[in-house]
């Protein structure tokens, strides 16, 4: 049989794999402080905080950031509403077409992003819909539904149906049961789903390039800088801030679901 202690070769392979995943991200932190402006020279010739101030005073960064936050917030709210309803329906009853509904929810994320993007773009082109903030939100909400749905379905499955029946037997009507029994039971799952949906939307770029027109979300701003660099140090600083900000929902999701058997964020 396999022994209880891991063989050395496995330890090395696992550690090397994890280092491979983490070192490049850590590198971003070093570059945010470099004094080098024109190239990616390593090691950094000197360290400075100057570029944080420069970035702070850049209106284009702030505009992109505020559009991203706006899009992610509205998409998250829509996704939480649709995802929870869908999860409630699928987990509580078996009905004809149940498999089709869960496939429909997963499809926007199972197909490559470029397909979702060009599909929305074709629809806007056929229906003559001009690009706006709402065209971005339409796309984002669609692929965020699955994140909320996955988290809510897992929780609904573990919430016993007899709790709801007991509440009704004791005289509560459906809305009271929803307010006092169901919502408290699924609250953390919804919060986790919402945070992950926000993180997904905040970072999305592939679908957005097809639905944004001339508008710039923060990822589109970054993409623009990657393709046609203008001021590299500003990009470095933004990249570092983005890494720090996206860590928050993951840590939050982890602490909220600690001790439960569900794995938050598994199906990004």
């Amino acid at each position: 049989m396999l022994s209880d202690r891991a063989p050395l070769s496995l330890k090395i392979a696992a550690a090397a794999g994890l280092l491979f995943l983490h070192l490049p991200i850590l590198l971003i932190f070093a570059y945010a402080f470099t004094t080098e402006e024109k190239s990616f020279a390593w090691p950094p010739p000197g360290l400075t905080l100057k570029w944080f101030a420069v970035t702070w005073n850049r209106p284009d960064v702030w505009e992109a950031l505020s559009l991203s936050v706006k899009v992610a917030s509205i998409s998250t709210v829509i996704a939480m509403f649709l995802g929870t309803l869908c999860a409630a329906a699928v987990s509580r009853t078996r009905f004809f077409g149940r498999e089709t509904v869960s496939l429909l929810v997963i499809l926007p994320i199972a197909l490559p992003g470029v397909v979702t993007g060009i599909a929305l773009r074709s629809a806007f082109s056929i229906a003559d819909i001009p690009f706006s903030t709402w065209t971005i939100i339409l796309g984002h909400a669609t692929f965020c539904v699955v994140i909320v749905y996955n988290n809510a379905v897992a929780r609904f499955r573990r919430t016993s149906g007899s709790l709801i029946e007991a509440s009704m037997d004791l005289g509560a009507n459906m809305f009271q049961t929803l307010r006092h029994v169901i919502l408290p039971n699924i609250a953390t799952a919804l919060v986790v789903g919402g945070m992950l949906a926000f993180a997904l939307s905040f970072d999305e770029v592939i679908v957005t390039t097809f639905t944004a027109g001339q508008q710039q979300t923060l990822p589109i701003w970054m993409l623009e800088e990657l393709v046609r660099p203008r001021e590299r140090p500003v990009t470095n600083v933004v990249a570092m801030v983005v890494v720090l900000v996206t860590m928050l929902p993951i840590l939050g999701a982890y602490y909220l679901t600690r001790g439960t058997d569900q794995v938050a964020g598994q199906g990004k």
């Binding site: 049989m1 396999l2 891991a6 496995l10 696992a14 794999g17 994890l18 491979f20 995943l21 983490h22 490049p24 991200i25 590198l27 971003i28 570059y31 190239s39 990616f40 020279a41 390593w42 090691p43 649709l82 309803l85 869908c86 329906a89 009853t93 509904v101 429909l104 926007p108 199972a110 197909l111 490559p112 470029v114 397909v115 060009i118 599909a119 929305l120 773009r121 074709s122 629809a123 909400a141 669609t142 539904v145 009704m168 005289g171 009507n173 459906m174 992950l196 993180a199 770029v205 990822p219 970054m222 993409l223 990657l226 393709v227 990249a239 983005v242 860590m247 929902p249 964020g265 990004k268």
Partner: protein, 316 residues
């Protein structure tokens, strides 16, 4: 106390909400209908509607003289996919997706194996966060980080110079096909970044499959005289295979549709995603872009069908 609560419930039960509640309780199918209506309408109209629009567009064609879309049913746009230049793009993308998937499985397996069977207590949390953080980190920042690493003046060249191994890199870059001016403008660079960005999606399904293997089965194998290596090859690995296939759905599909990684790190040779993007953008040839987008849908259709037959969906 109990009495006041009961009377409260009683009084509330008289209202409109109560009557609605009673109706919903008596007719579960109405409740189901109301629950499903918003999500199904949203996904059905916006998503399926868009996919239908995509399909529709792919049967139109573009007039190459005027640049206008000709709204007549034709298969000419699909025929264009099979011209040598376009077929090359499809082959290149599928080959890259396959290589990325294999490499991801090789790197991901030890991590998943350790996390599933050996990580205990605090180490479990370390592994969990160690896998989730890179998975959820910003996609563009990850690509940017590799641009910094692979650039000619970047950290990789510096490290190899320190080790006096830069002749090795130069020799590798002078190779045809995989080489190039620097790693950041070579196919190898594209491959490394694809593996880096999509590999984390492979770890969790493998880990889930490994965690489901009962310890008693491994003990039985040992009791029957198998060495650890044999147990791994003949018991553990076959049972983990559905997890690998499940993970490969992500790595394969995501590589197939990506157009940003090869655009930023790689050669000027196109991938499917880039072809879609360019045809709909500058060229304004939405029909050809749509036809290109149908290719990954068809490929993923076959892939999912095969994966389902291997039992990969139970491992998700």
């Amino acid at each position: 106390m109990a009495q006041t609560d009961a009377s409260l419930v009683q009084s509330r039960n008289e209202g409109l909400g109560a009557r609605l509640s009673d109706t919903l309780w008596r007719r579960p199918s109405l409740l189901l209908f109301l629950l499903l209506l918003p999500p199904v309408l949203w996904l059905g109209i916006i998503y399926l509607g868009s996919l239908f629009a995509l399909l529709l567009q792919s049967f139109f064609s573009i007039d190459h003289f005027t640049g206008m879309i000709n709204y007549e049913f034709t298969l000419r746009t699909y025929a264009e996919l099979f011209t040598p230049a376009n077929f090359d793009i499809i082959l290149r993308t599928v080959l890259m997706a396959a290589c990325t998937t294999v490499a991801s499985a090789i790197i991901a397996f030890p991590i998943a194996f350790y996390a599933a069977r050996y990580a205990k207590g605090r180490w479990r949390a370390v592994f969990y966060l160690g896998i989730m953080m890179p998975l959820w980190s910003s996609y563009l920042v990850k690509i940017y980080a590799w641009k910094l690493i692979l650039a000619k003046e970047g950290i990789l060249t510096w490290a190899l110079e320190g080790l006096h191994l830069n002749w090795l890199l130069d020799a590798y870059l002078s190779l045809p096909v995989v080489g190039g001016n620097s790693l950041s403008v070579s196919v190898t660079g594209t491959f490394i970044v694809f593996v880096y960005v999509w590999m984390p999606f492979m770890i969790l399904p493998i880990q889930a499959a490994l965690e489901r293997v009962p310890t008693s089965m491994l003990e039985a194998s040992g009791d029957l005289g198998a060495r650890p290596g044999q147990t791994f090859r003949h018991v553990l690995f076959p049972l983990a295979l559905p997890g690998v296939v499940a993970g490969s759905i992500f790595t394969f599909s995501l590589t197939l549709g990506d157009y940003i990684i090869p655009q930023i790190i790689g050669t000027s040779r196109l991938f499917i995603g880039q072809a879609v993007y360019q045809h709909q953008g500058i060229a304004g040839n939405i029909p050809l872009a749509a036809a290109f987008a149908v290719v990954p849908i068809v490929i993923m259709g076959f892939y999912l069908w095969g994966a389902k037959r291997m039992g990969a969906f139970d491992a998700l």
